[in-house]
């Protein structure tokens, strides 16, 4: 399942709760952009097909979507002396 929310925290206080960002809005914009770029990607894939790169160009879309769909559960937390950073996809 594609992550809908992202928890982001950049704070000096380790007990701070951070922000809950609605990343689904980013995905909507990204998918719209991918849709707009699709004809250009198809043309580029056709042009580069003889060199063998066209196949990989076509595979970019499913691979990118696969990465986005598996982002859920990614958790990166760094506690430093001065600052704490947390990025988590929910």
């Amino acid at each position: 399942m594609i992550p809908m929310l992202m928890r982001l925290k950049v704070s000096r206080n380790p007990k701070a709760r951070g922000l809950l960002l609605p990343v689904f809005l980013v995905w909507i914009l990204l998918f719209a952009l991918m849709l707009v770029l699709l004809p250009f990607v198809l043309v580029a894939a056709l042009i580069t097909w003889p060199s063998g790169q066209g196949k990989w160009l076509l595979l970019t879309y499913p691979m990118l979507i696969s990465v986005l769909f598996h982002l859920s559960g990614l958790h990166i937390e760094v506690e430093g002396r001065d600052e704490n950073v947390l990025i988590a996809f929910l």
Binding site: W56, H70, L71, L74, H75
Partner: protein
């Protein structure tokens, strides 16, 4: 329970196969490692990397990273995008780090094998900092 087990048990329930046949089929599904231990290994979902300060360290930095295995698998597929002319540089860099591996021979199957074996991985290093890499 895996799909194969469910199918076998369904077939048994419907009377398509006998108890003995179901037993044989179920036994065939169990890998030799599972047979030895007698316990089915739980699937590994996340790769965890934890870095904590050691007992003598004054440093208070902590790192806790949890990466879904499916994300690693999806990300590694991007290795196919590495241009062929860059393979020699990658091989050279690997050689300098003491890893004798030919990137040209690295196939999709190798990636699958590598990720599937991550469940057995546990690395623990205790020094100035405590580093633990494991699957959960």
């Amino acid at each position: 329970m895996s799909d194969e087990r469910k199918k076998i048990l369904d077939m048994l329930q419907k009377g398509k196969i006998t108890v003995e046949e179901a037993e044989k089929l179920l036994a065939a599904l169990v890998s030799p490692e599972e047979t030895k231990s007698g316990v089915e290994k739980p699937a590994c979902k996340y790769l965890k990397v934890i870095v904590e300060p050691g007992p003598q360290s004054e440093d208070r930095e902590r790192v806790n990273i949890r990466v879904p295995i499916k994300l690693i698998r999806a990300g590694l597929k991007f290795a196919a995008f590495v241009p062929k002319h860059a393979h020699a540089s990658i091989n050279q860099a690997l050689h300098e780090k003491g890893i004798e591996m030919d990137f040209n021979q690295f196939t999709q199957q190798d990636i699958e094998d590598l990720v599937s074996q991550l469940s057995d991985l546990t690395v623990e290093v205790e020094g100035k900092e405590k580093v633990r890499i494991c699957c959960e």
